[in-house]
Structures are given as C-alpha cells and as structure tokens.
Amino acid sequence: MNLIQWATSPWGEQVPSHISWTLLYVSAIAGVLFLIVHAIYVAATGKSAAAHAEISSAAPAVNNAQIPERVARHSFGARAFHGIMALSMLALLFTAFLPKVGVQFAWVKWHWIAGVVLTISVIYHIIHASFVLDFWSIWPDAMDVEDAKRRMNLAMGKPSPEPRKFAKYPLENKLYHLIVMLAGLAAIGTGLFMMKRVQTPFFTRNPYLFGDMTWGWMYVLHGLAGVGFVALVTVHIYFAIRPEKLFITKSMIFGWITRDQYLEHHDPNRWPAVAESKKASF
C-alpha cells in the first residue's frame, strides 16, 4: 500500500498529491482497536482501580478541612474553548471524511468555516493559557517522567518507590494534549494556506502561491493530521466516557471536581485547590 499518492506534474516531476485514503480506515481501526484492547486490559487486570489504590498510599498528608467542597478545575473560558474546539473538530472530521466514505454533499465551504472556527478558538486558547491559566500545568515535567518510570517498573513487577499522585493533569492528558497540539497546528497551518485555493471572503484566491511540490506536501501533512485525528478523537471520546474518568469529563462541563475526587486523584502540593466559587470566570 502506498501511504502517499504521487502524480506526474506537467513538467515531468513526481510530486505528492495527497495521502492514500486507506489511511482513514487504518486510523479508524487503530483507534477502535486501542479502545478494545484497553477496555479488555482494564477489565482483566483491574489496573485502573489498583493504580488509584497504589498512588493513594503515596499521597502526602494534608489538612482536608482546608480543601473546599468543590475544587475548581476548568474556568468557563477553558470549558467554552473546549466545547467550541470539539464541535469544530467534529465538523472538520465529518466534512472531510464523510464524502470519502460515500456521503456526498458540498463539503468544502463547511470545512473551511469549521477550520476558521477552530483556528480562532485555538488562538484564544493559546492567549488564555499563556496569560490567564497556569501555562506549564499541561506540559510533562521531570516528576511526570519519574512517576511514569515508577509505574512501569511496578507494572513489570520490579521494585520501585510508589508513584506520586498527579498534579492538575495526569501524564496521559499531558501527552494527549501534546500530540493533539502538534496534529492541530499542522492541520491549521496547512489548512490556512489551502484556503488560498478556494473561494473565501478572506483572501484573493491564489492556487499558485507555492509550487506543486510544496502544495503536495502540504496536502499530505494536512491529510496525515486529519486521519490522525480520527484515531485521536475516538480515543479521547472513549476515555471521556470511561467510568473512572467520568469525573474529569463532568469537570469539563461543570468546571469543578469534588473534594473526594481531588484528594483521591491529585496531589495538593502539586496542584493547590481553589474553591470553585472563588475561581475567576475566565
């Protein structure tokens, strides 16, 4: 199977055209396989519950009375961004790939409109996260790596100190954010240039902004990011509805987690609790 479709330009040059659309099915199947394997693994080993029990014992002592009943997790601005970003992402995936599986409709206009919404929401998120939120809270740090090693050793039956509880975000969330950020920026960056090739109110159309080779690789990158999101979104939705993760999903809707959830999953020293009512709206 060719991962990239190539074409011969009028000048006899071999140029990439776009990805093989078989990759769409590969990505979809990979996403579904991942969740099936994960679900079976968790069900068979009870790892998820055990992990909580293990890390709970490693938690430092805190004065529970100082922890508010509702701990603010996501501000309204962050939740609004997440909702808008999610809707635009789903719109982008549906408009991009439904025609590829035989559902025909005029998709280009809706696709670039959803792309513009995603771009604006991401710009907002970058500014918001940089200047209002705790920017570094979503980036993996040395402690995350060390704890990951500890968990790995324990999982393999090797002696190791117990891992600590998480800060605001578990390492999986941080890694997922990193991958989504890279794929998202690739899709947005290439998508913005690709908008120069279709009729929009923003630009004068210029399909000849780049040469065939550059455009070709741009289409390939856009396509790879796009099919990658099929698996990423599948996995994200799966984790969002897993019972042990539902409290995180709910916090993305309501903005807070309970004191018990906070104490069970998070290290107050790494993520100091703030009462939900005291948290700024944005």
């Binding site: 074409a7 009028p10 140029v15 055209s17 025609p99 035989g102 025909q104 280009v108 399909p207």
Partner: protein, 333 residues
C-alpha cells in the same frame, strides 16, 4: 501524458444481455469495472491510455435498454437508445420536439448513430488538461490547470466553479431538464428515480464525477412526463464549428403561454458549469409576465448573476445572457 492514440490497453470484456447480468457484473467488479455505452467517450480515454479499466461491461447487447416506449402520457427512452433513434422517433418529434433538436445538435451523424442518450448525459468533462491525463482535481489531484492566469480556459465554467472549472458538455441534458425528465437508475439497493437536474453534480459535491452514478449503479432509462408535451420549446447551441462541436453554451426552454403571458416555464443551460444549470430564478421571475423584450432582458440579466469568468472565457457571460433572452423571446422549435 496523452501521447499515444493507438492500441487500447488490455481489459476483460463482458457483454451482458440483460440489465440484471450487467448489474451483477458491476457488483462483482465494483470500481474496477467500466460501463461502456456507445463508446464515444470511453474509447478516447482508453486510446489515450489514461483510463485503464481492468473490466469493461459493454451494454450494447442489452436489448431492454434500447428503444422508446410510451409511458402514460409521456415516454420512456432506454438509456442505450442512440441519438439518431431519438432524433427520428415520431412521438418524440411530435410531443417533445426540443429533445430531437438537442440530440441532433450533438456531434456528427456518424457519432449520433453510435452514441446513446444515456452516454450523452453521462459523459465526462472535456477539459483538455483533464482529458490529457494531467493530475488535476478531477483526476484525483490537488490542482486545476485550466484555472491559471495562462491556462487555456476559453471553454470553461463561469458558474458554480469550485476548484475545478470544467463544464458539462451534454446537449441533451438541458433539454431533458426543461422537459422535467426523470432518470431511472438501477442500483444495488433497487430502482431509483431522480429528477434530471439532480442527476448531475458539480465539483462542490464530488470533484471527480459529473453525475450521481456510483460504481454498481446503472442508468437504465429516461422518463419524460407528459407535463410539457406540446409546449413551446426553444433550443439553441453556440459552438465554434457549427458542423460538429461541443457547446460553448446551449439553452433549452419549455414554455406554456396564456395569450401573451408566460404561464409556466422551465429553462436550463449547459456549457457554463460542471453541471447543466436550471435557471430557477429566471423561471420564477418570468412566470406570469408578458412575453416581451423587457421580460427577456430581465431574464438575461438574472441568468448571469453570480457569473465569474476566467481569463479567457468572459465572452460566455454575454453569450449566456443573450441565449436566455432569445429563449424567452422564443421561436417555437
């Protein structure tokens, strides 16, 4: 590149004798199969070695796809009926005279003897970059070579272009739309009947196709209801060579009059977009109006709203406007 007009690459040929057999073959081979009607479009592709199907399903032996039959107060024309048969059929000439006129304007007598009405409405775009085998949008690539500052786009679209600027070259398509014809398809899910105007799709829907036909689908016949039988028809085609050429623009209209008032009208044009365009705004605007120069002018102006000419096809804008004006002024076909 299209440099070899010689030996057709090998393929496996099937000549079914029934629609069911044809559909069964299509189902077996899926996208690998190429459905051959009269062959006027297909053999160009094959000889240029641009389309290389593994399997060709030749419909020429399927008798049930041929001929013109009476259906209620209208007609049903088999998809494999030749253009010449359509032109010569007495009932078609009597009731729906616009269709033989449109069919007779297609190509040359020899081609009309071989070419079918199903093939005429289902033929591919004639953009030479696309037909030349260049990796354009329509060929599955990511560029339109005609839509460039120096691209040869004199024959291309002025309406509804979306990345690809090729046009639909059918002469019978606008006439069938004017007659409110229905396309009868056999699909793996059974029979499907669609309005003629919905049979055609533009690049915004699917940039690699000109009709709704999917692998496994077959256009079996075209039904023409009696609704417009005996109406006042107008068909005009403008082409570079009057003896034999694809349309630069063509127009087809069917009008019923009440005195000098336009009672009902259907009007469609082709050669201006990747699909035949039914001018619904014109129809709505002129219905109930006096047939006059003023009405014709208004219709012409409405027809060109939204037109976006390319570098070399600006002439199509006044051409479209004037053809629509002439269709409204009318001179019964």
């Amino acid at each position: 590149m299209a440099v070899i007009r010689d030996v057709i690459p090998a393929f496996e040929l099937f000549q079914p004798t029934s629609v069911d057999d044809a559909l069964s073959l299509q189902s077996r081979y899926g996208a690998k199969a190429w459905v051959l009607a009269g062959g006027l479009d297909s053999f160009d592709w094959f000889k240029d070695r641009i389309k290389r199907p593994e399997v060709v399903i030749d419909l020429s032996q399927v008798r049930e796809l041929r001929g013109v039959r009476t259906a209620g107060d209208g007609l049903e024309i088999g998809a494999m009926t030749t253009l010449t048969e359509v032109v010569r059929h007495p009932v078609v000439r009597e009731k729906f005279s616009i269709l033989p006129v449109a069919a007779e304007s297609a190509a040359s007598p020899q081609i009309r003897n071989q070419g079918t009405i199903g093939g005429n409405v289902s033929q591919d775009a004639r953009c030479w970059y696309y037909r030349g085998g260049w990796p354009c949008y329509r060929a599955g690539g990511n560029i339109c070579y005609a839509d460039t500052p120096t691209g040869l786009n004199r024959e291309h679209a002025i309406l509804d272009a979306d990345r690809c600027v090729a046009v639909n070259p059918s002469d019978t398509a606008p006439a069938l739309i004017a007659l409110d014809a229905k396309m009868v398809l056999r699909t793996p899910k059974g029979e499907k009947v669609v309005d003629a105007e919905n049979y055609f799709i533009g690049p915004s829907i699917d940039i690699t196709k000109m009709t709704i036909l999917k692998p496994g689908d077959l256009l079996t016949s075209i039904r023409i209801p009696g609704t417009w039988a005996g109406a006042q028809f107008y068909f005009e085609k403008v082409r570079d060579r009057n003896v034999w050429d694809f349309p630069l623009v063509n127009v087809a209209s069917a009008i019923t009059m009440s005195g000098n008032t336009i009672q009902r009208i259907r009007i469609a044009v082709n050669g201006v977009a990747a699909h035949p365009v039914r001018l619904t705004a014109v129809e709505a605007a002129v219905a109930g109006k006096q047939r006059s120069e003023e009405t014709a002018d208004m219709a012409g102006q409405l027809a060109i709203q939204g037109a976006e000419p390319l570098q070399y096809n600006g002439f199509k804008v006044p051409l479209l406007r004037n053809l629509v004006k002439r269709a409204i002024r009318g001179a019964a076909v």
